[in-house]
Symmetry: C2
Subunit: 121 residues, 2 copies
DNA sequence: TCTCTATGGTTTCTGTTGGAAACCAGGTGC
DNA sequence: GCACCTGGTTTCCAACAGAAACCATAGAGA
């Protein structure tokens, strides 16, 4: 057995991790940082719709999990740069696949939704 | 251009889709149905900690998006079977990768968290 | 008959969360 | 002094998640 964890188990610590990465904003941040490092306000601008609070919270959580790194430069005004760690980088393949699956299969989903709404109405 | 969608854009419909699949319970359900079809109460038992309400809601949403199918058999008591559609099946590779990344990298995350908590304390 | 089981849900209530906006600290230019 | 840049934190309210109760149907057992 490679590891004793079971994602289906209530008490398994992997659940807490899944809960964190199975989050719209965390996924978008990881996907964006997979392209290149970025600063706080750049993330805020590029990931449209994210609030400062949620961005700040999510970055902090991702940093605590060792998925991203935070570097502050004593410039004026202060510059803070976020980047993927090696651990986080391994994640981005899966994350990227998920994010871009949504882009690639949007049409099929639209059709399914329309069909469902017609059936159920 | 293969498609005109941009996951980083606020108004892009892919955002709604990402919001739905970037959900702890939806991911676990999809991952579980990737193994084999299952009935309502089987899902409820196997995916520990999910409530009936959330399971019901999530299944309904996934069905509307065309990712899973629902079949009701007029047995007594009624039997309802959920399974992946072809569209949903394409998703499970990415979903599975995400869910099992959490299992595989739990140790590294634990270490990162401990290190972070020590630094920040 | 009356109760207990099972099925697959819906409803109700309450605590936690998410997002919008305001606020904050430090420093520079006008 | 005043505005403005950075990267945040705080405040407030509406929306959501989860726990528990409830529902309809029907078969088994006492």
């Amino acid at each position: 057995m490679k590891h004793a964890y079971d994602i289906y188990s209530d008490r398994c610590p992997t659940r807490a991790v899944l809960d964190r990465i199975a989050d719209k904003w965390a996924l978008l941040i990881l996907d964006r940082l997979g392209e290149d490092r970025a600063r706080f306000n750049a993330l805020k601008r590029e990931i449209e719709g994210i609030s400062q609070k949620v961005l700040s919270q999510t970055l902090k959580a991702l940093e605590r999990d060792g998925l991203i790194s935070r570097k502050a430069f004593p410039t004026v005004p202060v510059t803070v740069e976020y980047a993927l760690t090696p651990l986080g980088h391994k994640l981005t393949e899966a994350v990227s696949a998920l994010a871009h699956w949504a882009e690639a299969n949007m049409d099929a989903i639209h059709k399914a939704q329309a069909a469902y709404d017609q059936r159920v109405r």
